[in-house]
Structures are given as structure tokens and as C-alpha cells.
Amino acid sequence: MLRFIVRRLLQAVLVMFIVSALLFAWLRSLPGGPVDSLLGERATPASRAALSKQLGMDQPLLVQYWHFLDNMVHGRFGTSTQVQTGADALHIFFQRLPATVELSIVAIVIALATAIPLGYFAAKRHGGLLDTGSVVLSLIGVAVPVFFLAFVLKYVFAIKLGWLPPSGRQSADLDATRVTNFYVLDGLLTREYDASWDAIKHLILPAIALASIPFAVIFRITRASVLEVLHEDYVRTAESKGLTARIIRGRHVLHNAMLPVVTTIGLQVGGLLTGAVLTETVFAYPGLGDALAQAFSQRDYSVLQVLITMAALGYVLVNLLVDIAYAIIDPRIRTR
């Protein structure tokens, strides 16, 4: 197990190295560049040249790349020029991370809590009305652009009905104490329960919109997987043992059917970030996706650098964790 993890980590390092090289090449071939985004329409050629020099952009490319790599390894990604001017880009990442993690967790929980039971019962009544209905629903879920779904949810539930707040993470006039920057948790820890509740209300709509992506995938995998497992001999064996329906469902069907689902959850990280860029933009939810969208549109290269690096790193790490989780629930891998 340890060797397995070490080998995975080494591969992760290699992937990250390639990411850094591509990232550098990308940054240097962009039109405009950081000078532009720093100075804006009031820039003069002179001030532009001066800034260029200060940022070390007049040195040879290889030297720049060396500095780039050196800075990256030491976590020096530079300062944000637009998203939160002057703040360390890595600091912005860590500040925004809890928001997106909180949102993603809620979204994943919503997706799991709906997709797995629905997938199970759809498979159980294969070909029935529930099955057909939920398959169609999941396909429509794939076909509706996430940001449009977010828009409609917001328009209906926040603007027209006014049940939930339309944007942000917490009401601005709520004086909440920050501990971990996971707002729901913070509220519980400091016993400011109104802050927790307020944070949850802000989470619901974006989380539902975000959940639509993993929901469709998890539902379909669960359904296919349960369908396959239901035909397995060991389920028949379990039936022949006269076990209760509950035990058969949990221990024999779902436990096996969950194996592919677990790996899918790992794969959803990329999809979630894609979704987060869109939903967070619609709901002005101050997370990584919002920062990413802003950094792209305003060309905040330091922030982009951090976020892209971290997206790749996060993907690699989460999938490493998923593999470990997989090993835990699948003894065939664990005991090899």
C-alpha cells in the first residue's frame, strides 16, 4: 500500500512538472500580458516599459522559466493584479478554497443522496416508469447548460419567490466570526447558529445547480452498476440464503455497485470545478470558480497560475485519495 502511494505521488510530481512547463509556455504566449492588465487605459508606453522591466520580463525565457519554477515550488505565485489586487495569489487560493469545498461538498451530498437511491430503484425496476423517467431526467440534466439552470433557479427562487438569497456566501450585515472559513462549520463552532443557517441558505441554490452535473453521472453509473450486480451470482446466493432484503441491498448489491461510483466521484472533481466557475459566477459566490472566471476575463495571471496549478494538483490528489478509498472498500485491491 505504501509503495503504491509513493509511486502515485511520483507520478503526480511528473504530471505537475509538465503542467508547469505548459503553464509557463501559455503565460508567455498570451497577448497583452500582465503589464496591460495592471495599467489599464491610463498606461503610457514609458510606464509600461518600466513595469515590464520591474517584473523581470526582459530576461531570457529560460531564466524566466527557472525563476518561474523556483517561485512555484516555493509557493510564490506573485500577487493578484485584478481579483484582489495586491494580495498574494496563493493566499487568495487558500481564502477561496473553503467556499468552493463547502459548496462542492453540499453539491456532492445532494447528488449522492438523490442519485444513488434513484439509480438503485431505477435498476431494480428496470424498464419501469420510474426507470424511464429518471433516465430521461438525467439525460436532460446533461443537456441543460449549468449556468442556465443556475440562472433559472436564481430567478425563480431568489428573485420571484424571494425564498433564498440570490448571491454571495453570507449576508453582509451579519457580523459573523470566522474560524475555519467554512461558514457553516464556523457558525456551529462559535455557536452563532444564525450565521450557519444564513450560510446554508446561501448554499442551497448554487449547490443544487452544481449538483446537476455529478447527479446525472452518478445516477447513470449507479443504475448501470446496480443492473449488473443484480444479475451477479452472489446476489442469487444471498437470496438463496434467505437474507433480508435490507442486508441484500446494502451488503451485497450496493457495496459492490458502489465501486465504480466511488471512482466516478473522483472524476467529478474536474467537472465540479467547471461547474463551479459557472454557478459561482451566476450566484456571485466568492469561491475558486468565481476567482477563476474573474481572473480569466481580467487577465489576472498570478491568480490564473495558482488556480490552474491547484486544479491539476487537486485533481491528481483527489484521485489518489479515491484510489485509496477504493482500496478500502474493495478487498481485492487492498489485500493484493
Partner: protein, 561 residues
């Protein structure tokens, strides 16, 4: 076995939560207790909070290093300059200086300061503090010189460099300050009203290393002062910047010495980058107001909310560069392009109500505006004949326009581009579109003079024609490469001569003549329109006067909640 694992995990989580909660306790302010709220509300002195939707995060809290509107909006609530502007206008008015007097040559200015004013950290505001502020601005390190955009463009240099406008500050007693400048200019003292040149507490600046700015990576690292400890004399004090929730809160300065006392307890800026999201946040009552609503939303905002329209203090123009495209060197071609644009329709369909067709490169509220100039009319026939006369009937031109941006003078650049493109096509001018992201090369490209034709605009910093015309034409190698024309240097000289006229009346008439000359003889670019930007508040908020300079006094808001 899985059951055991689950139990263990839950136990572990519970334990860590417990451990965390032991070191986490509520740090709430209790000054918001309901009792005080009710009591003071009854007296009419409201303790309300104004929630304002900002389009972006403030770059810094030290306005000296800033050049963006979101930063300045916050600075304007915290700081005051020596001079200010009359609410709702671009006219200079007393602020921290009660009066000022220039020497006859216009190079020495004596300011009389308001007395009894204190910075919010208790440091007294006096002549000494003013001069410390100016010395600080003038003696910036390399990074500071790049960051302090406004000082560079307005003062022209640092540390007594050649051509620098600022020449020194002398304290005479406690409440008199003498500032020397190198040449008379129309923008003095109006430029002292810019938030960038606000008076900041020398004590706080020393304590939090206000000048310790560094360039690093691809941007600047600001010192502690600029990040979290700005101290001014204004009506509001900086309270906190909750970066994870993207809110900035300011709290009332109860010792504010100005005339307009703050009527809100707090101003909270919620940063909502998406335009539609801001509108919806207002509709749902989450925020009380936001700036620069999309003109498309004006009709509905007028109905449901309190839409304050500012006087138009900007100009949208179509820049031309004869150096890039020699076809443009012929005045008839430039005129033809101008006549061919149906600006009436463009303004009506794509710009907010109240926008008008421009007749010159400055908006009508600026002194020096030539009222007698008539806008070029829409006349495709004339355009065609002019082109024919110039032998350019099959003109091809590359027109640049920005993407991923919306400016007050140009809410929808792509639509404006399309309108111009089809107008030009109607007179036989073939347009090659060149869209480019605003921050992804557009600004550099156009400002470096690489674009043959491009859409650009300008919002005035203060009320002088030089602020507009100087930015466009003073540099012969600048965006429109006026140096490429034989009249280019003459125009530059005229600009600098007119700017140095001390007498306001004479100066204004000189500029009126120059404007006429530019429009009739030179026509280096095509001014399109001026649009009034708006700021919107909910029906519950009154008392904020819209300013052409976006100098809104949010602290005067009356929030009826």
C-alpha cells in the same frame, strides 16, 4: 468492519470539532444590539447600514497607489483632499483647505487649512501633515513610482525630476501651506481633489509602512497600511475587509469635522462582479444600491428603484491612426467616415437615455466646450462623394473593438462596432473586424498606436479640457499618432499653451477655438457620444447625490429600513 470504521471516523470528526470549538469563540460586536438600534432610529439619527454592491474588489485601501473606481469609491468615504467637489458637479469646492490663492504667475499656491480637524487615529491634521503627505507622494521608490499612476500622469515625475509639475510644499504655521508648481496649469488645484491625493495620517503611514510597496511576480505587494490600516479625516472609518465573504465594511467616524454628517452607521460594500447578479441582488433586497447599472435595465430600475443619473462626463470616440493606415491621412476620408455613421440611431438604440451625440472631444459640462459647434450630421451621400473625391471609393479599413468589457461610455462595444460597420458598409467602406479582449491586448494595442481605427473612450478626472484633449493628442507619438500629420506638433503646442493660461475665462475661450479647429480642420479622430452613467439605489435609500466624477457621498444616505 465497515461499521467500526464509520464509528471511528465519526468519533474522530467529533473530537476534532470539539478541539476546534474550544479555541473558537464568537467575536461579535455587541454594538448592534437591538435596543440601541430602535432607540436611535426613533430619534431620526439612523443607525442603519447601507449595503452597496461593488463590481470588483478594491485594489488597495491606499488611494495613492490606486487607479480604479472601486478603490476610489471606498477612499472617498474614508478620506478627504485639500480640495473637494461640489456635490453633483465637477466644480472645485473647499474641503480640508477652506480657501486658496495663486500667485499672479500661477506657480505658487497658498492654501488655508481647516482647523480643529483630526485624523481618525487622533493625529491632528495641520500644515505639517499636509507637507508630509506631499513629500511622501513625491519620494516614491521604484515600485511606488509605477504604482502611483495618478501622480505620474498629473505631476509628471518624482523627486524633482525634469518636467515635474510639483516643486515643493512648505508649512507656514499650523494652518497655512504653500505649494509650488513648475508652470501654470488649468488642472491645479482641481487635481488635488482626486482621491489619489487625499490626506492620510502621517502617524499611521509611518506605523504601517505605507511606502513599503514592492513589485513581485506579476504585480505589486502592498504594505500593511494599504491592506488594512488606512486612516483619513473622512466621515467613515475603515472597519474590516472580510475577504472570504468579499465584503468591505466602513463604520461611522463620529468626530467627522465636515458639514455633511454621516447618516449611516455602517457602509458595507459587497463585491458582486457579475452585472446581472448585482441587479438581482438589488431586486431581492440583498443590497441597497450599486453603480453603473446596465442601460438596458434603466427602464425597470426607474420604475422599481431610485435611479440617479449622473451628468455625462465622458466621451466615446473612434480613434484613427494615419500612421497605421495611410488612407486616413486625407481629411476627406476621415470626414467621410464621420458623415457615414448614423450616430443618432446609435445613441438612441445602444446608449442610455440622456446620452447625446458628441460635437467635440469634450463633454458639454467642461469649461472650454464650444457651444456653436454642430455635430457632423448623418449624410451617407456626402460621405460617398467625399470618398470619391479622395479617390478612396473602395476603402478597406481594420476596425478594432474590445471584448469582455463594458465601460460607462461604451456599454456594449460589440453592438456599437456592428452599428458602425454596417453604416460604413452602406457607403462602400469595407470593415475588417478586429475584436480583442480589453485586458488581453486591446488597451496596449490601441494606446501604442497600432490600431488604424478603434473604439475608445475617456471619463474625466476633473473639470478641465486638458484632462480630455491632453490625454488624446498631447503626445505626437500617442494613440492617434497626430505627429504623422503636418499639423500634429502645432496641435501639441497649442494644447500646452492653452493649459498654461492662468485666467479661467481666457483659457476657456482659447479651448473653444481649439475645439473648433480640431473638429473642422484636423479631425484626428471621431468623437461619437457622451453618455450619462447612472447609480441606482433601492426605494428605501435617498439622500445620495449623483456626481459626474462618481464622487458620491454614500455616507449621506438616508436608509429607511
Amino acid at each position: 468492519m465497515p461499521a467500526i470504521k464509520t464509528t471511528a471516523t465519526v468519533a474522530l470528526l467529533a473530537a476534532s470539532a470539539l478541539a476546534l470549538s474550544s479555541c473558537a469563540s464568537s467575536k461579535r460586536n455587541d454594538d448592534k444590539a437591538a435596543g440601541t438600534d430602535a432607540a436611535s432610529a426613533a430619534k431620526g439619527n439612523t443607525n442603519a447600514t447601507l449595503n452597496f454592491g461593488a463590481a470588483g474588489a478594491p485594489a488597495t485601501f491606499d488611494p495613492f497607489y490606486a487607479s480604479d473606481g472601486e478603490t476610489f469609491r471606498i477612499s472617498r468615504q474614508i478620506f478627504q483632499g485639500l480640495v473637494g467637489f461640489k456635490p453633483g458637479t465637477a466644480d472645485v469646492a473647499p474641503a480640508l483647505a477652506t480657501k486658496w490663492e495663486p500667485s499672479p504667475d500661477g506657480k505658487t499656491w497658498t492654501f488655508t487649512l481647516k482647523t480643529g480637524v483630526k485624523f481618525t487615529d487622533g493625529t491632528p491634521f495641520n500644515a505639517d501633515a499636509v507637507c508630509k503627505n506631499f513629500k511622501r507622494m513625491d519620494s516614491q521608490n521604484a515600485a511606488g513610482q509605477t504604482a502611483s499612476e495618478y501622480w505620474l500622469t498629473n505631476m509628471g515625475g518624482y523627486n524633482g525630476a525634469k518636467g515635474e509639475l510639483y516643486q515643493g510644499c512648505t508649512a507656514k504655521g499650523d494652518s497655512t501651506v504653500v505649494i509650488k508648481i513648475s508652470r501654470p496649469t488649468s488642472k491645479f488645484p482641481a487635481l488635488l481633489g482626486l482621491p489619489a491625493f487625499s490626506m492620510q495620517s502621517p502617524t499611521a503611514m509611518d506605523k504601517y509602512d505605507a511606502n513599503g510597496i514592492k513589485a513581485q511576480g506579476q504585480g505589486f505587494v502592498y504594505p500593511a497600511y494599504a491592506n488594512a490600516h488606512p486612516v483619513g479625516t473622512g466621515p467613515m472609518k475603515f472597519e474590516k475587509y472580510d475577504q472570504t465573504n468579499k465584503t468591505v465594511s466602513l463604520v461611522r467616524n463620529d468626530d467627522y469635522a465636515g458639514d455633511e454628517k454621516p447618516t449611516v452607521k455602517r457602509i458595507v460594500f459587497s463585491i458582486i462582479p457579475d452585472e446581472t447578479a448585482r441587479k438581482q441582488a438589488l431586486a431581492s433586497g440583498q443590497i441597497d444600491g450599486y453603480d453603473l447599472p446596465n442601460p438596458v435595465d434603466w427602464p425597470s430600475l426607474k420604475k422599481d428603484d431610485n435611479l440617479e443619473i449622473r451628468p455625462a462626463f465622458n466621451i466615446l470616440y473612434l480613434g484613427l491612426n494615419a500612421k497605421v493606415d495611410p488612407n486616413l491621412k486625407d481629411l476627406r476620408v476621415r470626414q467621410a467616415l464621420y458623415y457615414a455613421i448614423n450616430r443618432d440611431q446609435l445613441v438612441r438604440s445602444l446608449l442610455p437615455s440622456g446620452a447625446n451625440v458628441a460635437s467635440q472631444f469634450i463633454p458639454s459640462t467642461v469649461a472650454g466646450y464650444n457651444k456653436s459647434l454642430q455635430p457632423y450630421t448623418y449624410d451617407p451621400a456626402k460621405a460617398k462623394s467625399l470618398l470619391a473625391a479622395a479617390g478612396k471609393s473602395n476603402l478597406k479599413i481594420t476596425l478594432w473593438y474590445p471584448t469582455e468589457v463594458s465601460r460607462p461610455y461604451m456599454p456594449a462595444p460589440d453592438k456599437i462596432f456592428n452599428a458602425i460597420k454596417s453604416d460604413w458598409a452602406a457607403v462602400g467602406v469595407q470593415v475588417t473586424p478586429k475584436p480583442m479582449p480589453w485586458a488581453g491586448g486591446y488597451v496596449t494595442g490601441t494606446q501604442n498606436g497600432n490600431a488604424a481605427a478603434y473604439l475608445m473612450g475617456w471619463t474625466g478626472d476633473y473639470n478641465t479640457p486638458d484632462n480630455f484633449l491632453g490625454s488624446f493628442f498631447a503626445d505626437p507619438k500617442g494613440q492617434m499618432s497626430v505627429g504623422a500629420y503636418d499639423w500634429g506638433s502645432k496641435l501639441a503646442d497649442a494644447l500646452s499653451a492653452d493649459d498654461s493660461i492662468v485666467d479661467e475665462g481666457k483659457r476657456a475661450s482659447a479651448y473653444e477655438d481649439l475645439n473648433k479647429q480640431i473638429m473642422e480642420q484636423y479631425l484626428p479622430g471621431l468623437p461619437i457620444s457622451s453618455s450619462p452613467p447612472a447609480i441606482v439605489f433601492s426605494k428605501k435609500v435617498t439622500g445620495v447625490v449623483a456626481s459626474p466624477l462618481t464622487d458620491e457621498h454614500l455616507w449621506t444616505a438616508k436608509v429607511d429600513k
